[in-house]
C-alpha cells in the first residue's frame, strides 16, 4: 500500500540485501516478525510494486500480510484449488506470469480489483509447502531467472524461520510448563514437610514419655520396641528436615555482599554445636580475608561441615577444627579440616549425593543430606566441593567460591 514503482536492484545489491534478510530472519522469534521481514524483503529484492506473504491453512491460502502500492488481499482466504498460491504449492514450483489476464489459472475477478498486471509466486519449502511468497507489478513485467533465484533463496530462509518460530513456541510452552511443575513441587514439598513434622513430633515425644515411665508396666521387650519406634521417628524427622532444606536451597539465595568471615564462621559453629548438643568447640581460623559471598548460604555450608566434623569426631581424641581461606585468583579456596574418624576413599564422591549415609544407622543419627545441600549451594554459586580424607586420619573438605563484586555497596 506504500511506496511507488521501483527499479530492480543490481544482482550484487540483491545478494547483499538477501544476506541481510537471512540474518534478520534467523533472529525472528514470532510469526509477525517473519511476516514483516518477508513482505518488505520480497518486494525490495526484485523491485516489485507489491508482495504478499501467504500461509497454507488446510485447503485454503491465507494472505497473511502484504506490502504494495495498492491494496491486495491481506486477511483474505481463498480455496487452494482456485488460487495461484495454491497452484504453486501443489505443483511445488514457482510461477511466473507476464499477463495475469491471459493466464487461465488466475481468478480474474479477484485480480481486476487490483493494480496487478504481472506476478510471480514462489512456494515456501516446496516439498510440503508451508505457504508462498507473491510479487506483483503494475506494468507488464517478466521476472528474470536471477529474480526467481533470489525469491527461492528467500523462500528457503523463510521456511527455516517459520520452523524456528514453531520450535521456539513449543520450547517456551515447555519451559512455562516446567516452571509451573517445579513451583508446584516446591510447594508440595513444603506442605508435606510441614504436615509431617507435627505427627512425627507427637510420635517421638510420646514414645519417649512411655519409655521413661518406670511404672508403665511394659516388659523389657516392649520397652525395646518403643525405643526402636523412637529411633525410627527421629530418623524420619531428620530426613524430612533435610529434604525440606534441600528444596529450600534451590529456591532461595541471598544477595552476595562483602563479609567478615570471623562472625560467619562463629555463627555456623554455634549452630552446628547447638544442633549436635555439644559445647562450642574451638576453631583455628587465622586471619581470613574479607570476601563477597551469599552470607546465609556460607553459614549454611560451614554449619553442615562443622556439624559433620562434630558428629564424626574421633572417640579417643578431642576435636580439632580449622578453617582457612586462600586467594586462588578468580576464586577463593576454603578448607575445613578436622581430626575425626575420616572417610574411606570409596565414599569420597558418594557423600555429596542426595540420600547417602555411610555410617551404620544405630551408630549415628543423621539423614546424610547435609553435604548434598552444601554441594547444591556451592554449585549454585558456580563453585565446587570435594574432600580429602583417610579413615582414622581426619577429613579435609575443600570448596571454591568464585570471586564476585557486591551487588550493593556495603559500608563496613
Amino acid at each position: 500500500m506504500e511506496g511507488s514503482t521501483s527499479s530492480p536492484p543490481t544482482p550484487r545489491a540483491g545478494i547483499e540485501r538477501l544476506l541481510d534478510v537471512v540474518q534478520e530472519l534467523s533472529a525472528a522469534k514470532r510469526l509477525e516478525d517473519v511476516q514483516a521481514i518477508v513482505r518488505v524483503a520480497a518486494r525490495a529484492l526484485v523491485g516489485a510494486d507489491g508482495a504478499t506473504f501467504v500461509l497454507r491453512d488446510h485447503d485454503y491460502c491465507y494472505y497473511v500480510d502484504e506490502d504494495a502500492i495498492g491494496p491486495l488481499w491481506k486477511g483474505r482466504r481463498f480455496p487452494s484449488s482456485v488460487c495461484i498460491a495454491g497452484w504453486a504449492m501443489e505443483h511445488q514450483q514457482a510461477v511466473v506470469i507476464d499477463d495475469v489476464f491471459a493466464d487461465p489459472r488466475i481468478p480474474q475477478s479477484v485480480y481486476r480489483e487490483t493494480f496487478v498486471k504481472s506476478m510471480t509466486m514462489t512456494p515456501i519449502r516446496p516439498a510440503s509447502a508451508l505457504g508462498a511468497i507473491g510479487t506483483y507489478w503494475a506494468t507488464p513485467h517478466r521476472a528474470s531467472q536471477s529474480d526467481l533465484r533470489l525469491l527461492a533463496a528467500l523462500a528457503n530462509t523463510t521456511a527455516v524461520a517459520l520452523e524456528n518460530v514453531r520450535l521456539y513456541g513449543e520450547l517456551s510452552a515447555r519451559l512455562d510448563q516446567l516452571q509451573r511443575v517445579n513451583d508446584e513441587l516446591e510447594r508440595f514439598t513444603w506442605v508435606t514437610f510441614h504436615d509431617l513434622q507435627e505427627p512425627l513430633r507427637m510420635i517421638a515425644t510420646h514414645s519417649q514419655l512411655v519409655n521413661r515411665d518406670e511404672h508403665s508396666g511394659l516388659s523389657e521387650r516392649q520397652n525395646r520396641s518403643l525405643r526402636h519406634v523412637h529411633e525410627g521417628v527421629r530418623r524420619a524427622q531428620a530426613l524430612t528436615r533435610g529434604f525440606a532444606e534441600y528444596v529450600e536451597v534451590l529456591s532461595k539465595r541471598t544477595a552476595p555482599r562483602e563479609v567478615d568471615l570471623r562472625p560467619v564462621v562463629c555463627s555456623a559453629l554455634e549452630q552446628a554445636a547447638a544442633q549436635q548438643g555439644v559445647p562450642i568447640p574451638t576453631i583455628e581460623l587465622g586471619d581470613p580475608p574479607r570476601v563477597v559471598v551469599d552470607p546465609l548460604g556460607l553459614v549454611r555450608v560451614l554449619g553442615h561441615l562443622f556439624a559433620n566434623a562434630i558428629k564424626f569426631r574421633h572417640p579417643e581424641r578431642p576435636l580439632e577444627l580449622a578453617v582457612s581461606v586462600t586467594d586462588g585468583g578468580a576464586r577463593w579456596h576454603f578448607t575445613v579440616r578436622d581430626n575425626g574418624i575420616g572417610i574411606d576413599a570409596t565414599y569420597h564422591r558418594r557423600i555429596f549425593a542426595f540420600f547417602e549415609r555411610l555410617h551404620p544407622q544405630d551408630e549415628f543419627v543423621g539423614a546424610g543430606l547435609g553435604l548434598a545441600v552444601c554441594r547444591k549451594i556451592i554449585e549454585g554459586w558456580g563453585g565446587a566441593i570435594g574432600v580429602r580424607s583417610e579413615p582414622g586420619a581426619g577429613s579435609e573438605f575443600h570448596f571454591t567460591v568464585p570471586k564476585l563484586t557486591a551487588e550493593a555497596p556495603h559500608a563496613g
Binding site: H194, E198, L200, A204, T205, L209
Partner: protein, 138 residues
C-alpha cells in the same frame, strides 16, 4: 498471696499440651494454664479481656501458628490492631522453623519464637525459658 500467673495456650494439639502440662508440673512451676484450641475463639477471648473492666489479660500467651478457624499469625495481627492489644505478651510456639514464619511473627511484635520440642529432653529447657519470661514480666 497473689494468684499464680495465667498462661493462655492457644493450640489444638492435645498431645503437645499434655507434655507441656506434665513438664510444667514436674518443674514445680506455679502457673494456671488455660487452653483454647482454635484461633477465632482465642482472639475473641483476648479482645473480650482487653475490653473488660478491670482489664483481664493473660500473663503469657503461647500461640501456635497452625490453628483451626483462624491462623496464628492472623490472631496476632488482629490482636495488635486492637486498642491495648500491643501490650499482650505473646510467645509463638510452633512446629514451623521456617525463617519466613519467624520473620512475619517477629514483625508483629512477639516476646520470642520457639519451635516445639522434637525431643522430650528439650521440654525442661522450654519450661525454664517460660519461667524466665514470666519472671521478666513481674
Amino acid at each position: 498471696m497473689p494468684a499464680d500467673p495465667e498462661i493462655l495456650v492457644v493450640d489444638d494439639n492435645q498431645a503437645d499440651l499434655d507434655l507441656l502440662l506434665l513438664f510444667a508440673a514436674e518443674a514445680g512451676l506455679h502457673v494456671r494454664f488455660r487452653n483454647i484450641s482454635n484461633g477465632a475463639d482465642a482472639l475473641h477471648d483476648l479482645l473480650t479481656g482487653l475490653g473488660a473492666s478491670p482489664r483481664r489479660v493473660p500473663d503469657l500467651v503461647l500461640l501456635d501458628l497452625g490453628l483451626p478457624r483462624l491462623p496464628g499469625l492472623e490472631v496476632l495481627r488482629l490482636l495488635r490492631q486492637a486498642r491495648g492489644g500491643d501490650g499482650v505478651p505473646v510467645v509463638v510456639l510452633s512446629t514451623s522453623a521456617r525463617d519466613e514464619d519467624q520473620q512475619r511473627a517477629r514483625a508483629l511484635g512477639i516476646l520470642d519464637y520457639w519451635t516445639k520440642p522434637r525431643d522430650l529432653e528439650e521440654y525442661p529447657l522450654m519450661i525454664e525459658r517460660m519461667a524466665t519470661k514470666l519472671a521478666q514480666r513481674h
